[in-house]
Amino acid sequence: MDRETQLKLLKDMLLARAFEERAAEEYTKGNIAGFLHLYPGEEAVAVGVLNAAGPSDYVVSTYREHVHAMLRGISPDQVMAELFGKKDGCSHGMGGSMHLFDRQKRFMGGYGIVGETFPVATGIAYSIAMKQQPEAVICFFGDGAVNQGTFHESLNMAALWGLPVLFVCENNHYQIGTEIHRHSAVAEVYKRACGYRIPARRIDGMNVLEVYEATGQALQQIYAGTGPQLLEFETYRFRGHSMADPGSYRPKVEVEAFKDQEDPVAIAIRETLPCYPSADEISAAGPDVINKLCSQMDNLGHLDNRQLEALRSEVAQIVDDAVAFALASPEPTLEDAQAYLDCNRQQEVLI
């Protein structure tokens, strides 16, 4: 892989981390409310998958989708503004953290009801297939979602009709507080695809380079019209399920085992404490998945400390700007809300 791509992946991960940690901070300040599901720890998945994706592919995601949205080209400004519930947010303040949408960018939404992404993605794929376009849909979901009926129903239809969907499981081993062995009879998600004759692989989701490669390969086949595929990425979330969740059901050793051993992030991120580490602590610590990529690049002579620091301050600036943008953006009005509800009303006589 060329250096430019590696640098891009690194920068994306750094931005993802910085953005999410800042979101946590803004949540504690009261600028963001509701359910806020954060992505630290899992960055390699979205960054690897979506860097491998083509610009015309569609993306359907869950409520843990800020990073996915930004990777599809929605600006951090618009994402942050949406988290703030402001009019300049990508959903104009109606959706919030769990419901980012951008039709132009083919970001088909964050969905809050577990299991909704499957049929929506399958339907988008159906439409693509009817038009015979060389495009694909990337459907993200968690390990907990595979026990929803829609998973099975959608996989069956996608396989039956050869639809261009890439099902991407972000297996972080938890469905809120329930560990995968306690929620799934078969804990290897990729094996479930066999029942539907769907090619599937399990990949280390902490290694962005592997994620990138695997996704690229799968998508090439899907574009060629071979039907759906499933990729399971094993990963881990460092924080609680959402801001409201202390994550205390997970043994601390488990949390730490997932972090890069020589990396002091294990000290910095103490999920069991109700208050999260400050942005300073985290940036001082330097992160795991990110650290992994750094050392990989270092080995190749692709990165030095000076460059890393430059990248860090660049993303910090982007995040600062996003918060400033969000703060300055106006609130939507009731009239706006009504107009969004009626957005599809044509000049029909209704009564």
Partner: protein, 330 residues
């Protein structure tokens, strides 16, 4: 005897009491076990009763609610927790097509001691998919009983009664009520499960409400009192059946009716309440009855819009004042 506790604690105590008393009572739902429930309602029960009686489920609402139906056919007493009512949409087949219909379709052969507990309503900026109440959907299912406890005391009484009942019952809770506090007397005898409760007596108008809107209505009633309007506030405590008599008795005194609900009004609970009362006491009404409900919009994430979307005390005060305009005029 009375003890101050949170609403969730009252529910927790009721579960504990029923599980202690009867081995056939068991809980199931997402994160009810090890985690203790998203709103702590089942805290401590997994440790006490073990995994067969407190079952953590996969995210499979349709099937684990249906599983509850199946277990109830054999006389077990499942208490299904659906994390929030928004996910109950996935379990409607089990609730509507199975729970109420199997006892009927079999010609009365089966008990259905199924309790489905779930919180609904607008909480704090959870956005449209997580801010619904579906009482209208559930209310027009014959055979389904719906309790809507608004206070810790009612939560204690009604959950106990629901578990003891052989009929399918939805206990519709509210995210914002779990951490409200109130006196709970666990010894005093419970009133009938579906009887309404009059929280405040006033001669000028009757406010009929339920669930969290009780608190909002009581606040409004205090403000109204300061401006010379005395409201009776009735908490229905149940949406099916509805205690019509208590409402009619109050309207006999006040002749004015205001219904406050958190769900949207179109074909909603308030529509049923007003239709039912118009049929029963049309000739007692001195003003057209009024409904205050959520706007006809999905709930926006934006906090300001969210707050404007459901009735606030000021809205109730304004509506009541309007209703009482002719109260002193001769």
């Amino acid at each position: 005897m009375a003890e101050e506790m949170f609403y969730w604690q009252a529910l927790n105590r009721a579960l504990y009491q029923q599980m202690e008393a009867d081995d056939s009572v068991f809980l199931l739902g997402e994160d009810v076990g090890l985690y203790g429930g998203s709103y702590r309602v089942s805290e401590g029960l997994y440790a006490r009763f073990g995994e067969w009686r407190v079952r953590d489920t996969p995210i499979s609402e349709g099937s684990f609610t249906g599983l509850g139906v199946g277990a109830a056919l054999l006389g077990s007493r499942p208490v299904v927790e659906i994390m929030t009512i928004n996910f109950a949409l996935l379990a409607l087949d089990a609730i509507i097509n199975m729970a109420t219909k199997i006892p009927f379709m079999s010609g009365g052969q089966f008990p259905m001691p199924l309790v489905v507990r779930t919180p609904g309503g607008v909480a704090k900026q959870l956005a449209a998919q997580h801010s619904q109440r579906l009482e209208q959907t559930l209310m027009n299912v014959p055979g389904l009983r719906i309790a809507v406890p608004a206070t810790p005391q009612d939560a204690w009484w009604q959950l106990n009664q629901a578990i003891r009942s052989d009929e399918p019952i939805i206990v519709l809770e509210h995210e914002l009520l779990y951490f409200s506090k109130g006196e709970v007397d666990t010894q005093v005898e419970a009133p009938p499960m579906h009887r309404a409760r009059v929280h405040r007596q006033g001669a000028d108008l009757t406010i009929v409400t339920y669930s969290r809107m009780l608190q909002v209505s009581l606040q409004a009633a205090e403000q109204l009192s300061a401006q010379g309007i005395e409201a009776t506030v009735i908490d229905l405590r149940s949406l099916r059946p509805i205690d019509w008599d208590s409402c009619v008795q109050s309207i006999e005194q006040t002749h004015r009716l205001l219904v406050v609900e958190e769900d949207s009004s179109f074909a909603g609970a308030g529509a049923e309440i007003i239709a039912g009362l118009s049929e029963r006491c049309f000739y007692l009404l001195d003003e057209p009855p009024k409904r205050l409900a959520a706007r006809e919009l999905p709930i926006a994430y934006n906090g300001t819009l969210e707050a404007m979307s459901i009735p606030r005390p000021a809205d109730i005060v304004a509506a009541a004042t309007d209703l009482c305009q002719t109260k002193d005029a001769i």
